[in-house]
Symmetry: C2
């Protein structure tokens, strides 16, 4: 069997298993999660052994430290994976949830309910924690899952998927509900993206070039998790105590995340009162500042920002700063340079806040709070498969409910259309 | 300016106008619809004159009668367009509707509300009624719209879009919220499909090859409106009076629609009682029957169905008939050969009905009713832009609400993430 046939067979088996999974209850899916949790804990050393093989190969090939760090699984990280399994176990199953029910004048009862999407393809790089997290979120929400992880994590992924399959078998669930693609090299990605008869959704998780490849080659719907160029705008009516505290948190609390603020916008009327102390705080946290022309007049010692800075997701202790003439200019700047992710206004003026929240075209818009809150857990959705920067189907944090679609059940007693 | 620059300029103008449209109220959008309604009625003869130009060119080029029929606008059809405008006017605006509201333990209030998607590209063939219907549905739901219609309707489309722009201007709305692309020929379609920075969603409306081109070339999310290979399954516990009536309606009431039944599945235990009279009814309505081996034993005079028939959307007075051994076989057949559109079971057994409704992976599943009901109007959604056969974002009839997405508004008083 060549690699294409192998991929196709795996995908077809997953589709068949998805249809079988429709009949299983929440209790049975939770039983699988319970079993998987045990297996992950019991096999900790074996997982680490397989992971060490992967790490060893990558060290020889001179991958960066950051890459090795994402690839590496130690006891602490495996415990974190195990905890996520417990978290997902405790979340309510969205499948079967009633969205709406109406009775039409002709007596037809139409019930709209949540159902699984079908088969979901996850295309990701070399973070083995994604292997387990994506699988359990998809399975709990009733979906089949095709995993196509980076080749650098091959040994780890095979071990993890075997544990998942063991737990499925042990719980009486179809073991082919999850399949890992390890053949075909890079070609297998493009091939998978054409199998629209069997795969309903593709979720890429990784850097810009991975997402670009997926978007440009997919015949299957894709939900992207692009960059977060997030903004905090300090309005002329801001409470400065709140502004200093929130802006600092949005930048420094975890700068490598997509919901960290990358650009600070400041109203011209408040800039002189606000910026000097803000700059002091940034300095204490080693944040590099890059300012516009007007900012440099107040903070002459910082770097100059160029046009590219406004588009950049630093993911680091760097912030660009721009002084704007009005609320409207702030909104325009965000809609032009942002990535529709998370943006905040700091103001005591309710009218300005409402205008900002209405007109900024982003998934999450904040009034007087840190952009860092855009997260499945913080939004009460539980574990998330990622944060969508698309507008179709799911926007912002994607939890279990966002991994479902709906169907209409129509109950009649012989109705025909006239 | 070459055609690419022209297309890009139009798309950018539409994006800017979409952001402006965010501030307009339902009342202002309805005022536009009222004005458009008047203009369509007042300009009936001018629309017909432009349409006659298009029809004349197509007659010379020997297009089929069916093609000319779809292209042609007479007074009756224009009245129908005008009526649709009034229908959309009377529908509630989904924008701003609250989906959910929670307060988190840290005091953050998170409100999930409906918002427009953004800029929607409609790629369609030569049905000028789509020009108006798509525009008004997109505008009422707050979206910008790029229309790329078939070149054969060019004169008609230019006239209609000019009337829409006049009505927008008259109502104080941004006239560039709608733009028609008439340059660049076929290349303009592929070019549009790459402009993901400005267009948020593509809806193709047309035949298989148009949809295939769009799906294979788009970098932008697409919601497909593919074929409807719909089934009605007559279970062994069916009430035969209901079965005869519903099956006949599902096939003959309007056979050219996507929700008409194309395949009849019959349980083996009831086939001898059910099929002869069903065949009599089909004959009265000139329905051509194509049966499986077992069906031919009961109805020896009909044609034999081959494997291709099970996949075929006839859109005509033709039906394929298959006898199945069980409810499970019926479900498997539908999930294999169907298009996830609309499927029905006729039975008095509630357990069988529930099993069918749960396990058939389609947008609309019916118990004891005709598949013909899958329609925005019949489902209480009002006018629809089409019937999605995708599972992502919108499934089944797509009305105003399905042309929106959501965003999170988060209200705080200085919360930061720990």
């Amino acid at each position: 069997m060549d690699w294409k046939e192998q991929v196709l067979q795996n995908v077809k088996l997953t589709r068949e298993s998805f249809l079988k999974l429709l009949k299983f209850t929440e209790k049975e899916k939770n039983c699988f999660l319970e079993n998987l949790h045990q297996k992950i804990i019991q096999n900790k050393q074996e997982i680490i052994k397989e992971n060490e093989k992967d790490v060893k190969i990558c060290l020889k090939k001179n991958y960066t430290n950051a890459f090795i760090d994402r690839l590496k699984l130690d006891e602490k990280r495996i415990d974190k994976i195990a905890k996520t399994i417990k978290d997902v176990l405790s979340l309510p199953d969205p499948v079967g949830k009633k969205i709406n029910e109406i009775v039409r004048p002709n007596g037809l009862k139409i019930v709209k309910i949540r159902v699984p999407i079908g088969v979901i393809g996850i295309i990701y790089e070399s973070r083995p924690d994604v292997t387990v997290e994506a699988s359990i979120l998809c399975i709990k929400s009733g979906n089949g899952v095709i995993l196509r992880g980076g080749k650098e994590a091959k040994n780890t992924n095979i071990k993890l998927v075997n544990l998942i399959k063991d737990a499925l078998k042990q719980s009486g669930l179809p073991e082919n509900i999850v399949n890992l693609i390890t053949v075909g090299g890079r070609k297998s990605v493009k091939y998978l993206l054409q199998l629209y008869q069997y795969i309903d959704l593709i979720i890429p998780r990784g850097g810009y070039s991975l997402i670009k490849t997926v978007v440009e080659n997919s015949y299957i719907p894709v939900i992207k998790h692009y960059a977060g160029v997030c903004h905090t705008y300090v309005d002329k009516d801001a409470n400065l105590q709140i502004a200093w505290k929130v802006v600092l948190n949005a930048k420094v609390q975890r700068p490598a995340t997509c919901n960290a603020t990358e650009t600070l916008l400041v109203h011209k009327d408040i800039a002189k009162d606000f910026l000097p102390q803000m700059a002091e705080l940034f300095k204490q946290y080693n944040v590099e500042m890059r300012g516009c022309e007007e900012t440099l007049k107040i903070l002459p010692d910082i770097k100059r920002a160029d046009e590219n800075d406004w588009y950049t997701e630093y993911l680091d202790l760097i912030i660009s700063i721009k002084i704007v003439n009005s609320l409207e200019e702030a909104i325009e700047h965000i809609n032009k340079y942002g990535t529709h992710h998370s943006d905040a206004i700091i103001t005591e003026n309710k009218g300005s806040a409402e205008k900002f929240l209405k007109n900024v075209d982003s998934a999450a818009v904040y009034h007087n709070a840190s952009t860092r809150f855009t997260d499945g857990g913080e939004f009460g959705l539980g574990a998330e498969i990622g944060i969508s920067t698309d507008k179709i189907h799911a926007r912002g944090p994607m939890g279990l409910e966002e991994l479902t679609t709906y169907k209409y059940l129509i109950y009649g007693n012989g109705q025909i259309r006239e």
